[in-house]
Each structure stands twice: as structure tokens, then as C-alpha cells.
């Protein structure tokens, strides 16, 4: 209900969200043109345009009204009126921090990681990628969302295939095919949703808000359509058993690709589940929860166990993503204030911590030209500052209280306990396993006496330190003082849960504060 009302609240004269999508695209054009004249100008242009996008996203953050649960900064223009398709953008507490993360992550990566060849197309693809991801997070039109969702594949494919490692083409293609196969289901789902809702909405429209508020699908229809969406998002997240593209893609992608992939791309799956799955199909979401819980918890344990046994450091981090995303899916579908807020928060936290982990692994590869754990040894002895940064980021990933990862993980688990009790009790074992695989890897890579191959390992450079410092600052701040973030996420999550309650028999568990 609140979504519909709020649409009128803040239609700004300046189309800020459109700018977030368009500025990186313009940047891509600029990179291609300027870079032709001088290669360094290409990077400079990429940096400037991504910094502007980042600044715009930060402006959105400060202008965001935290008391407002509905969509803000809404802009809406007819696109293909005959089919009810419009350029409808808006953002709420669920997408806010994903937009900010997308805005901030790209300039950091562009500034901090250099490609070794073909700078011009590399930066252009990165900026197109940023535009696509931004678009996915602010689209309020199903068709528009699908376009952005698919656009993202193309730059990512070329980034992996063009700047990746030995098996890059295989990995890139696998990534493409998996996601695309999922998308096919979603495309059908989107078209069918619009057509099937024609009667209840009054016209054919792809508008998310109109469909969610007015569509009257039958129970069976809703469930099948939900399944079509869920498959696409499950591949993207990825959920067990459709996760096998991820380790390959992560391992073969260039560092920037891995950071972006883990940082924001995977979140398009979990975000999509919430924004399109739960919002459009509340009944089906509640109905499908046991299956999703089970897949999520399998992902948590399975990802952690598989991570433990990896011999490639980057692959290990990739499997840890499978485990972490399992937590997020659990929280998303637990549909309680705490769990779902925690899930949204954890999308961002995971992006920051795992993004930073991939940066660190990339730095190790730059120095040693290997990612094999067995070939690395004693790095803490020769590069203590590097090791220190790795340690903080690792502890954030393990979920140490006081760092960002814990807050999200704790909220997910504490909030899911009422609706998914035994899944939570089992899933919490993943917290133990996270310590196991990361500390074991740390011990093998950083502890011990460095051998001759590792004794020349170069200590952290200033530029790398500044880059990682930004990540660590976010990690610590969010862990110590998550309130600003939570207070912006929660109202929108609450509105979404109320939407579910209004359309189903589901009722969120109530907690009486016995003590106070």
C-alpha cells in the first residue's frame, strides 16, 4: 500500500536516478573517444565519470528520507506506451545502499586496479557494467529491469573473456549461458505476468508498482510465475545447485571483475528475489519458503565445506560467497523485520568484505603469479601490513562482532529463528565453518617461515593501502555503528512485509518485550 501512495512524494525536478544510469554510459563513450587520442586520458575519463556517479550516489544517500518507506526520487516517462512499458525509476531503503555500493565500488576499482592491456575497451566495459547494474537496482518497470539485467551480462562476459586468466573463455561462456538460461525463464515470467494481470489491472502494463498492488493472479498462476522469476534469480545469486558457474567465473575474471561480480552483480539475484519475487508474488513467496530455506542452508554448509577443500585461494573466496549468499537468501525469505533487514544489509556487507578479499587475492597474484595456496607461505613475516589488512577483512567475512559482517549475519539468524527455526540452528553451523576455511587458508598462506619464492613478497604499496583503507573504514564503521544504515533499510522492509501480510495469511511473529 505504502509503495503506491509514496510515488507522488518526491518527484524531483532533477532526474538523479536517470543520471546515475546515464553518466557512466557517457563515460564509456568518453573513454572510447579520448582514449583514442592518448591512452592515459582513457583512464582519467573513466575515473572522472565513475567518481561523478559515485558522488551522485552519495548525494542520493544524504538526500534520502529515512522516515519514508516508499520509493523516492521517482522519475517516470512513457517508453513504449502500446505495451505499457515505461522508463520508471525509483529507489527505497532496499535498493539505496546497493545503489551507493555500485556508485562507490566502481571508482575504487578503476582507481586501484589496472588492466595489463587494452585499457580503452576495459574501462568502457566497466562503465557500461556500472550503468547496467545501476539500472537494475532502480528500475520499477519489469521490462526495463529485464533489459538492464541482460545488459549487465555483455560487459561482464567481455571483461572475463578479454582480461581474465587461462580458462577465461570457458568461464565467461559458462557464466553467460547459466545466467541467460535463467533469464529465459524470467522473460517468460515477465510477459506472462503482464498479460495475465491485464484483467485485474485494467491494461497491459509492465509497471512493477501497478502490478504488485492491483494484480489479482490465481494462487497457481502466482506460484508458477514466481518459480520463473526465482529460477533466474537463483542462478544469479547463486543458489545450490546452480552455483557452479560462480567459482569458474570468479577464478578466471580479472580482479576488477571479481570485485564487481561479488560486490554487486550477485546482489542482483537476492535483490531481485525481494523486489520482484516477494513484492509481486507474496503468496507464492510464503508458500515456497521451505524450499528456499533448504537450498539456502545447503548453500551455507555446502559452500563452506567446498571452500575448505579448495587449493586455489580465489576459488576458496568464490565458494565462501556461495555460503554467504545462502545467509542472505535465508534472511530474505524469513520475512521478519530483523531477518530481511539483515539480509538487505548483508548484501552490502558481503559486497564490501568479499570485494576487498578479491582485491587482496588479486594483489597476491600480481606479486607471486600464483593463486595456489600450497605455493604461498609465510607472507605475514615479509609483509605484516598486507597481512594485517587481510586479517581485518577476513575477520569481517568470518563475522566477528564489531565488524560489518556480524551485524547482518546476526540479524538474519536472530530474525529467522521464529519462522525458520531448525534451518537457523543448522545454518549457524556455517559460522563455525567460516572460521575453519578462512583461518586454515590464512595459516597456510601467511603463517610459517617464508621460503625463497615468497621471501621477496612486496609489502603493501601506498595506492593499495589507500584502496583497502577505504574498505576497512566501511567495514569498521558499519560494524560499530550500523544504525544509520539499518534505520534507512528497515522502513522499506517493513512496508514490504506488511504488503505480504496484506495479501496472504502470513503474520510476522510478535515479540513482547518482557523485561522493559
Amino acid at each position: 500500500m505504502m509503495f503506491a501512495v509514496s510515488e507522488t512524494v518526491s518527484s524531483l525536478s532533477f532526474p538523479i536516478l536517470t543520471s546515475l544510469v546515464v553518466v557512466p554510459l557517457l563515460g564509456a563513450v568518453a573513454v572510447l573517444m579520448l582514449g583514442r587520442m592518448r591512452a592515459e586520458w582513457g583512464k582519467l575519463a573513466a575515473l572522472i565519470f565513475s567518481v561523478v556517479t559515485g558522488a551522485l550516489s552519495l548525494w542520493v544517500l544524504q538526500a534520502f528520507d529515512s522516515t519514508e518507506a516508499g520509493f523516492q526520487f521517482v522519475s517516470r516517462h512513457e517508453w513504449i506506451p502500446a505495451w505499457g512499458i515505461s522508463w520508471h525509476l525509483g529507489l527505497d531503503g532496499i535498493s539505496l545502499f546497493l545503489v551507493v555500493l555500485t556508485g562507490v565500488l566502481f571508482p575504487l576499482v578503476i582507481a586501484g586496479v589496472d588492466p595489463h592491456h587494452d585499457e580503452r575497451p576495459y574501462f568502457a566495459w566497466l562503465l557500461i557494467l556500472q550503468s547496467g547494474v545501476m539500472g537494475s537496482f532502480v528500475s520499477l518497470d519489469l521490462f526495463l529491469f529485464f533489459v538492464f539485467f541482460e545488459i549487465v551480462l555483455v560487459p561482464m562476459y567481455f571483461l572475463i573473456g578479454g582480461w581474465g586468466y587461462d580458462e577465461r573463455v570457458y568461464a565467461a561462456t559458462k557464466f553467460f549461458l547459466f545466467t541467460m538460461a535463467g533469464s529465459a525463464f524470467m522473460l517468460v515470467g515477465i510477459v506472462a505476468t503482464a498479460l495475465l494481470s491485464r484483467g485485474s489491472v485494467g491494461e497491459v502494463t509492465f509497471d512493477l508498482v501497478a502490478l504488485a498492488e492491483d494484480s489479482a493472479l490465481s494462487v497457481t498462476q502466482g506460484r508458477w510465475l514466481f518459480a520463473a522469476f526465482a529460477i533466474a534469480f537463483a542462478v544469479k545469486v547463486p543458489l545450490f545447485p546452480v552455483h557452479t558457474w560462480l567459482p569458474d567465473a570468479h577464478t578466471q575474471a580479472p580482479t576488477a571483475g571479481s570485485v564487481i561480480l561479488a560486490g554487486v552483480l550477485l546482489k542482483m539475484g537476492t535483490y531481485g528475489m525481494l523486489r520482484f519475487g516477494v513484492y509481486l508474488f507474496p503468496e507464492a513467496s510464503v508458500w515456497a519458503r521451505p524450499v528456499l530455506y533448504t537450498l539456502a542452508v545447503i548453500g551455507i554448509l555446502y559452500g563452506a565445506i567446498a571452500a575448505t577443500m579448495q587449493t586455489d585461494l580465489k576459488r576458496l573466496v568464490a565458494y565462501s560467497s556461495v555460503a554467504h549468499l545462502g545467509f542472505i537468501v535465508l534472511g530474505t525469505f524469513a520475512l521478519t523485520d530483523q531477518a530481511t533487514t539483515g539480509g538487505v544489509m548483508q548484501m552490502v556487507n558481503h559486497g564490501v568484505s568479499t570485494g576487498a578479499l578479491f582485491l587482496l587475492v588479486g594483489m597476491i597474484y600480481e606479486r607471486r603469479h600464483t593463486r595456489q595456496i600450497a605455493e604461498l607461505r609465510g607472507l605475514q613475516h615479509v609483509a605484516p601490513i598486507f597481512a594485517g589488512f587481510f586479517m581485518v577483512v577476513m575477520l569481517s567475512s568470518i563475522g566477528l562482532p564489531g565488524l560489518n559482517g556480524f551485524v547482518g549475519e546476526f540479524l538474519i539468524l536472530v530474525g529467522s529463528f521464529d519462522t525458520a527455526r531448525w534451518w537457523v540452528v543448522t545454518g549457524t553451523v556455517g559460522v563455525v565453518l567460516a572460521a575453519l576455511y578462512l583461518l586454515w587458508a590464512y595459516q597456510r598462506v601467511f603463517h610459517g617461515e617464508p621460503d625463497s619464492a615468497n621471501s621477496g613478497f612486496v609489502e603493501l604499496r601506498l595506492r593499495e593501502g589507500l584502496l583497502l583503507g577505504a574498505f576497512v573504514a566501511i567495514i569498521v564503521f558499519t560494524g560499530v555503528y550500523p544504525k544509520p544504515m539499518l534505520s534507512r533499510i528497515e522502513p522499506s522492509v517493513n512496508a514490504l512485509i506488511e504488503h505480504v501480510e496484506a495479501h496472504t495469511t502470513y503474520v510476522q511473529p510478535v515479540h513482547d518485550e518482557a523485561g522493559e
Binding site: 525463464f185 565445506i305 577443500m309 540452528v425 515479540h511
Partner: protein, 637 residues
């Protein structure tokens, strides 16, 4: 001063942050002095808070100091807040007090270490975390400290990380503790589900007033105990602690004897009302686990040769005593023993560190002997510690151990017997250690070459900065018992002080046989202690009896080895199986797709447009098939 309680954890935190930023520039020894100063100032603030509380009437001795809203989401409102009451102040007093002494000692012990500033950085962060743990107003703030001390313990155990055994031991400690943390986390979930809060006051009140089900109460209690087993090294999770001795000795004293490992006992006391309202099997389990651990670890200590490992098993055993007390409803006695144990065990560890220091890093007691001549102050203070732990009156350990056994007798005589056997063993193995290290003939001359000593090898006494803490702790080990003397109700200072915290949970033993005959029980305890000492002297000093040190005890009942075999065997096989399953089966199931992918990959190299075409074809094909299916179902008709 109570309102300034945030200064107590803040000071060591600031010390730690300064050392992170400028540690190497500050250098040795100033980094050590800075860290010591931070902890000592924190101690002074705590003392002020103590007198503040003491000055107010008993019922007004509980204050909540809120710093900010930490995790507020809907019904879940968690503050970063401190609970200042007699229990937390008692804990903070001995954490900062003993912490300061050990910081001071470490300035001498760590002299010349290349990572001197980093050591003090970790120590300060540890003290900060420990203070968050004890001062927390709710389970989550405590958990912040709980995990923080775990992380610092990990850093410090693997401080000399180029040594493989240290690296392995650190990881083992962290992971084992995390198993316990599963319990603490799950307990918080149950608490929020049942009570709607994780604050101690809310949970304890709900339990005491019976507003939540007994099942929920028992679940919270037993899950927290799982966490306590991890942190406080109880069966079945004790096995990380002996390995933790890989860390520098001041760490063993501070973290693995005096403070961190007592966190479980503290937590149980904090939620005493929950334990009291649980089903009977919960406290019974705690008491049995405590007694079993106490006896088990004491039996192992009898046959250890490493000076620190004896003390490590002894610590596990003494912690068992504390849990035995908790399970028997003797919360005051548990805290009493925790404090006196902190005095004498920190003393013994620091003494052993002094010995190791003087022996050029030799830890095998078989290569020691007669050290009292070379190291008189260390020897004298160590002997005080020995008398205290052996239960010789009037030293501190005697009073606290007997307070526990008094309650245990009233609760369960079998467990009392187990406690008595443990007490006998304790006196026995500690006497053995004192004889092997400080008396008998000097055995270190034969081993001098091994120590890498140039020229003649001579053990030496430690510098003053290490001896002062020894003397202070020795004095405390002598007089510490005065906190709680059994002779008259008036002399129960600790009990009166802690009463507002524990009154709901503390068991009353008035009128029991044990209470009426407490002097008789005291006498029995004295006889048992002296029997243990005499037996040990007969074996190790007089050599009238053959020493009994079977290999099974030296190998710690092969418990650790069995676990290692299970983890390394079936455990690793299971993990490998999952990884292989993922590579072959799950990924193999999409092998068809993979083949297509490889084929397409080949095409891409030739022509990228071909790939895009293939994409378009597949998307449309999938869409068509699905649409056809929808049409067939008749929905679109």
C-alpha cells in the same frame, strides 16, 4: 564514577589504536609502558567505580550506562551499554589489576623480540575485549567481547607464527571456540524469540517471574553452557587450551589462566536466575561436566613434563571446579575461586615464564632442578603459588576450594568425592612440579649444549620488572582468602558484595549436614591436601616410591589424538567428498552445457557476433517453449 565506566574499556582500546598506528615508531620499551599505563589507568577508574558502588546501598548497586543504540531493528533493540554492578566490577577489577601486572611483566619477558610493540597492541586489545565481555549489559555486547578475546587469543597464541606448531595451535583455539559460539548465538536467538530481548535484566527477570516457558529457559541455559565449554575449556571442548601454551608465557598467564578462560564461569553467574529456573538436568549437567573435567585434567597433569602444560591442565581442572560450583548453585564460591585462582595461577604461570626465561627457553622439567639457588625470588613466589593451589591453609586457594566443596557436599556426595580426589591429585602434581623445577639435583648442565648457550650455561634470575608482579601476586595469593572467610557470616565479604546479583540463584545450604559440620569438612580437606603433598614428596624427593606416569596420562588419555584422527580421517574425507561431488556431479550435470560452452567459446574467438546470435536463439527458444507450455495450460487463451 559509575557514569564514566566507558573509560574502563576505552583506555586499553585507545592504547591499542595508538599502537596500531605508531607502534613501530614508539618501539621498545615505550610501547610496553604505554600499554601498561593504559591498563593501569583503567584499573584506577575501576577502583573508583568500585568505591562508588560500595558507597551506595546494596539495592542501588546496579547501573546501566548506555553509550548508543547499536543494533535497533523493530522489536530488537540492542544498545551498546554497560551493566555496572558488583559482579561486573569484581570482574573488571581483577581483569585490569592482574592485566596491569602482566603487562608490566611482559616488558621484561618480551625484551628483544622483534615484534615487541605488536605484542602489546594485542594485549591491549585483549584487555579491551575482556572488559566489554564482563561489562556488557546484554548478551550481544558480551558476545562482542567474547569473540574479541577469542580473536586476540588467536593472534597471541600464533604470535610466533613462523613456528608451525604456534600457527596450528592458534587456529585450533579459534575454531574450537567457535563451536562453543554456536551455542551462545543460538541462545541469543532463543532469548529474542522468547523474551524479545537479549539484555541480561530482561532475560533473568523473565526466567525468575516465569513469564517464559521452562523449555525456553532451559534451552538458553544449556546453549550458553555450550559456549562456556568452548571458552572455558571444559569437556568435550577443552583440547585447545593445552596447545594454546604455544603463545608467549605472559599470554598464558593473562588469557589462558586468569581472565579469558573464566569468561564461561562469569557468563553462567550472570544468567544465574536462568540456570536456577531451568529443568533440574541443566545444573546437574553443568556440575557433572565440571567434576569430570576437573578429575580428567588433573589426572593428565600428573604425567606432563612440560612446565607450562602441567599448569595448562591444572587450569582446565580448576575451571572444572568452578563449573562444579555453578552446577551446585554456589555462585559466590565460583567467583571466589575464580578470583583466587586468577591470583595464584597467574603467579604460577609468570613464575614458569621466569623459569623459562632464566633457562634460555627450556620448558622440559626433566632438564631443570635445583633452580631455587639460581632464582630465589622466582622460587619463593612459585612456592607460595603452589601452597595456594594445593589447598594449604591459610593460602587463598584453600578457602575458595573448600567453599566450593562445602556446597558440593550439600548437593551431591558423589561429586564431592570426585572433587576430593581431584584436590588430592592437585596437591600431588603441583608438589611434583615444585620438586622437579626447584629442588633435587641440577639436571640442566647435561643439557646445556642443547640450549645453544655459549660457554657455560647458567640459569639466571629475571629482571625486576618481571619480579615485581610475581611478588604482588604472591602477596595476593597469601591474603586473597580474606575476601570470604567461613568462620562467621560477617566475614563473608564477597557474599555480601555479590548478593544483589546472585541472590535469586544462590542455593542456600543452611541446615544441611554439610553446613553444620563445615569445620569437619575443612579438616578433611586439609588432610587430603597434605596427603597429596606427602605422597609426592615420597615419590619425587625421597624416591621411596616408583613414580607413576603412564603413557596414557602423558598422552592426555589420547583424547586429542583421537579427535585429530577423526578430523583428519572421516572428517577430511567427508569434506573432500563434498568438494569432489561439486566438481564431478553438480558441475558434471551441466557438462552438456559445459560442452556447448566450450564449443561456443571456440566460436567466440572467431566471431563474437556468432555468440550473440547463439544467445538470441537460446533465449527465444526457451521463451517459446515456455510460452507454448503456458498456452497449453490454457491460461492465455
Amino acid at each position: 564514577m559509575v557514569d564514566l565506566i566507558w573509560l574502563v574499556p576505552l583506555l586499553p582500546l585507545v592504547g591499542g589504536i595508538v599502537l596500531i598506528a605508531f607502534g613501530s615508531r614508539i618501539g621498545e620499551p615505550r610501547a610496553g609502558w604505554l600499554a601498561t599505563l593504559a591498563t593501569a589507568t583503567s584499573f584506577i577508574v575501576t577502583v573508583a567505580a568500585y568505591f562508588d558502588l560500595l558507597g551506595s546501598p546494596a539495592e542501588e548497586r546496579s547501573h546501566v550506562v548506555t553509550i548508543f543504540q547499536w543494533i535497533p531493528v523493530g522489536a530488537l533493540q540492542i544498545d551498546l551499554a554497560f551493566l555496572v554492578d558488583p559482579l561486573s566490577v569484581t570482574m573488571a577489577l581483577f581483569v585490569t589489576g592482574i592485566g596491569s601486572l602482566i603487562h608490566l611483566y611482559a616488558i621484561g619477558y618480551m625484551h628483544g623480540d622483534a615484534k615487541f610493540p605488536k605484542f602489546f597492541l594485542y594485549l591491549n586489545l585483549f584487555v579491551f575485549s575482556m572488559l566489554m565481555l564482563v561489562l556488557g549489559e546484554n548478551l550481544l555486547v558480551t558476545f562482542l567481547g567474547w569473540e574479541g578475546v577469542g580473536a586476540c587469543s588467536y593472534f597471541l597464541i600464533s604470535f610466533w607464527h613462523t613456528r608451525n606448531s604456534a600457527a596450528v595451535a592458534g587456529k585450533k583455539a579459534f575454531v574450537t571456540n567457535r563451536i562453543g559460539d554456536w551455542g551462545v548465538m543460538t541462545a541469543m536467538f532463543v532469548a529474542f524469540s522468547a523474551v524479545g530481548s537479549v539484555s541480561y535484566k530482561a532475560i533473568n527477570e523473565a526466567a525468575h517471574e516465569g513469564t517464559i516457558s521452562r523449555t525456553a529457559i532451559s534451552a538458553i541455559a544449556i546453549l550458553l553452557f555450550v559456549g562456556a565449554c568452548g571458552k572455558s575449556a571444559q569437556l568435550p571442548l577443552y583440547f585447545w587450551l593445552p596447545d594454546a601454551m604455544e603463545g608467549p608465557t605472559p599470554v598464558s598467564a593473562l588469557i589462558h589462566a586468569a581472565t579469558m578462560v573464566t569468561a564461561g564461569v562469569f557468563l553462567m553467574t550472570r544468567v544465574g536466575p536462568v540456570l536456577a529456573e531451568s529443568y533440574g538436568w541443566v545444573p546437574d549437567t553443568i556440575a557433572i561436566v565440571g567434576a569430570a573435567t576437573a578429575l580428567f585434567a588433573a589426572s593428565i597433569a600428573v604425567a606432563q613434563h612440560d612446565i607450562k602444560r602441567v599448569l595448562a591442565y591444572s587450569t582446565v581442572s580448576q575451571l572444572g571446579f568452578m563449573f562444579l560450583a555453578i552446577g551446585s548453585g554456589a555462585y559466590v564460591a565460583a567467583i571466589f575461586h575464580m578470583v583466587t585462582h586468577a591470583f595464584f595461577k597467574a603467579l604460577l604461570f609468570l613464575g614458569s615464564g621466569s623459569v623459562i626465561h632464566g633457562m634460555h627457553h627450556e620448558q622440559d622439567m626433566r632438564k631443570m632442578g635445583a633452580l631455587r639457588v639460581a632464582m630465589p625470588v622466582t622460587a619463593l613466589t612459585f612456592i607460595v603459588g603452589w601452597l595456594a593451589i594445593a589447598g594449604v591453609p591459610p593460602f587463598a586457594g584453600f578457602w575458595s576450594k573448600d567453599e566450593i566443596l562445602l556446597y558440593v557436599y550439600a548437593d551431591n556426595r558423589f561429586l564431592y568425592a570426585v572433587g576430593m580426589v581431584t584436590a588430592l591429585l592437585t596437591a600431588y602434581y603441583m608438589t611434583r612440579q615444585v620438586i622437579l623445577v626447584f629442588f633435587g639435583e641440577a639436571r640442566w648442565n647435561d643439557a646445556a649444549a642443547e640450549h645453544g648457550a655459549h660457554g657455560e650455561f647458567r640459569p639466571h634470575e629475571s629482571p625486576k620488572v618481571m619480579l615485581i608482579p610475581l611478588v604482588v601476586l604472591a602477596l595476593l595469593s597469601v591474603v586473597g582468602g580474606a575476601m570470604q572467610l567461613p568462620f562467621s557470616k560477617k566475614l563473608h565479604f564477597l557474599e555480601h558484595w555479590l548478593e544483589p546479583v546472585v541472590e535469586e540463584a544462590e542455593r542456600s545450604i543452611k541446615g544441611t549436614w554439610a553446613y553444620d559440620n563445615k569445620y569437619l569438612l575443612l579438616l578433611v580437606a586439609i588432610v587430603v591436601a597434605f596427603t597429596g603433598i606427602a605422597l609426592s614428596i615420597t615419590v619425587y624427593a625421597r624416591r621411596r616410591l616408583q613414580s607413576l606416569e603412564p603413557k596414557i596420562l602423558a598422552d592426555a588419555w589420547r583424547y586429542d589424538a583421537t579427535i585429530a584422527r577423526l578430523v583428519g580421517g572421516p572428517g577430511a574425507a567427508m569434506f573432500r567428498g563434498v568438494a569432489r561431488f561439486d566438481a564431478r556431479v553438480v558441475d558434471g550435470a551441466v557438462n552438456g552445457v559445459g560442452e556447448v560452452a566450450r564449443g561456443l567459446g571456440g566460436q567466440v574467438r572467431r566471431s563474437q557476433s556468432g555468440f550473440v546470435r547463439a544467445y538470441a536463439v537460446i533465449v527465444s527458444l526457451g521463451a517459446v517453449v515456455l510460452l507454448a507450455w503456458f498456452v497449453w495450460r490454457g491460461w492465455l487463451a
